[in-house]
Amino acid sequence: MTAPTTPAPADAGRATRRITVAPTDLSPTGYVLRGPGELSVRFDRRVVLMCGLLVALLIAVFLTSLAVGDFTISPGDVVRTLFGNPPDPLADFIVNGRRLPRVLVAFLVGGALGASGAVFQSLSRNPLGSPDVIGFTSGASAGAVFVILVTGGSMLQVAGGAVIGGLATAIAVYLLAYKRGVQGFRLILVGIAAGAMLTSAVHYMLMRAELIQAASAQIWLTGSLNTRAWDHVIAVGVGVALVTPMLAVLSRPMRLIEMGDEAATGLGVNAERTRLGMLLAATVLAAIAVAAAGPIAFIALSAPHLARRLTGASGAATGAAALMGAALLGVSDLVAQWVLPTPLPVGVVTVCIGGVYLVWLLAREGRRNHV
């Protein structure tokens, strides 16, 4: 008796050349995309779907931001203006000269903050991990305030001061926390201490400053997207474009490090090198974002959580967190400009949204740990 054999499909040979998508049976929503040769990429259906929805939301925010304002432009005119066919020169100036760079900076800064927060949460294995935990934001603030108070500072100089202050703090915290490699918990403790000291340094500088300078420093400290123009878009865009490939390559080994250094090393991950690379990438992203828009609060903290909740993914989903960060900051900026009775710096809105979210998160974590 012979076992029934399934005849090979006639196009079996060609099938390997085509692009195919098939479930992996590793999780209910896990799929693999196969292409020519050995090319194969794993993805999660729900993550892709949710990222698609976020992109749709970004497009809606994008068009709304371009259309709404003191001078409202119809969606059709917005699209025509974008494609170089403005109904009048004023629309061209408002859309391409003012609103477009502002919304692009919002998306890039929000995306950079979201991705940066996802990396910090993964590396510190702590839901409260964010660029603030390694004292980065406080360092950047101290640097920027110093520049504003001492030199009066152009926008570019202030940005430079923020980047130098932030990076110097990040390096100092990393070295202070280093002991046969860097553990997440020690990084957080050292970062909190450094952040507290730098915050008091900022307060000291503000107390000693002239009133006008102190006021302009205070505005910077809130985080704002006012008067952001094309040079900001280019600077932030180039930085994000440089860091993104590094994030893409390192995010696979980074997710293994979430299981512990020994497990990751056993699987062939160079844990310390991966962590250093990811810290560098995340710090640069935070630096770019802070330099461009000031220390906008809570995006880096809340975007990764919201992204994870939405996608149901385990561990850090850097891409989804970036999209979520961009959407959060884009929406917040719309609210800050047009929904409230008086226009406010966007940092005020993100603090309000983020503060509520943080309280909810802490209450939830507290319940889970004590039940």
């Binding site: 992996t24 049976d25 590793l26 999780s27 209910p28 896990g30 693999v32 050995e38 090319l39 194969s40 990429v41 794993r42 294995r125 046969r180 390559v249 696979r252 080994p253 997710r255 293994l256 979430e258 299981m259 512990g260 020994e262 497990a263 090393t265 056993g266 699987l267 062939g268 991950v269 160079n270 149901g312 993914a313 385990s314 561990g315």
Partner: protein, 268 residues
């Protein structure tokens, strides 16, 4: 006799200034189920970590397949030698199959993330550990014994000829301990893998090991087949425990019966 695949020569193992072992040499016989035993803090996990390249020796060297283990890229080493650490963290919400699939990392590349061989290795690893039915469950919902089998499956999916297990039975109840050890025995016998495990229970070690390494104060006191080396003197020297050794009625291997401090009077 040719050189064994995994051995360490004149190892000095230390955490910062604290030296655990000096000039320790150890060979893992190919195809053996080697078990390292010894009292707490005798350096058995430290030795295993050094063999698994988790701890860099201050002096001496570990060789794997005729080369210094540090000469391999960490991914190449991970294709030859797998490690089950004492404790690992399951990412929140991850499914069993997804966690097991992470064992395939050393065989994958950025644009070759899932091959037919990966599918097969994960299916085999789950079948061998009896967790196929759990594959869509979340790891954080499982019992301790099930979870340990999932971690073991992850290391199995790595398909390395040599497997190092750091206290794989700790925190498990007796039935799950035996289950995990039976599984190790199967892997060793029917799959021809070389296993090295650190165990706490001397009787388990005697029953399952083909090669036993007894350590005290960072030194190897005795090594060999359990029935050849385990006697009252060794147990007293290594653990400081007075005992009698009888034959295990199930397997005939040595069974350690600790001496009673005083006669226990039982009343009906």
């Amino acid at each position: 006799m040719s050189e064994p695949r995994l051995h360490g020569n004149d190892l000095t193992l230390a955490y910062d200034e604290r030296v655990i072992s000096r000039e320790l040499s150890v060979s893992i016989p190919d195809g053996s189920f080697t078990v390292i035993v010894g009292p707490n803090a005798c350096g058995k996990s430290t030795l295993l970590r050094a063999l698994a390249r988790m701890l860099k020796p201050s002096a001496g060297a570990v060789h794997l397949d005729g080369q210094l283990i540090t000469q391999y890229s960490t991914k190449e080493a991970a294709r030859r030698l797998g490690l089950l650490p004492q404790s690992s963290i399951a990412p929140e919400g991850i499914t069993v199959a997804d966690l097991v699939s992470r064992g395939r990392y050393p065989h994958q590349r950025l644009f070759r993330q899932w091959s037919a061989a990966d599918t097969e290795a994960v299916a085999d690893a789950m079948a061998n550990t009896g967790i196929t039915d759990l594959r869509h469950r979340r790891v954080d919902e499982l019992s301790g014994g099930q979870r340990q089998r999932v971690w073991l499956a992850m290391v199995l999916a790595q398909q390395t000829p040599i497997l190092l297990l750091d206290e794989p039975t700790t925190f498990l109840d007796i039935a799950h301990q035996i289950e995990v050890l039976d599984l190790c025995h199967d892997l060793h016998v029917s799959h021809g893998r070389t296993l090295v495990a650190v165990l706490h229970d001397l009787n388990h070690a005697c029953r399952y090991a083909t090669h036993l390494i007894a350590m005290r104060d960072g030194e190897i006191v005795a090594e060999g087949a359990p029935s050849a080396i385990v006697d009252e003197t060794l147990v007293r020297d290594v653990f400081g425990l007075a005992c009698r050794i009888i034959d295990d009625p199930e397997t005939g291997t040595p069974l350690v019966i600790p001496a009673a401090k005083q006669r226990v009077v039982t009343t009906a």
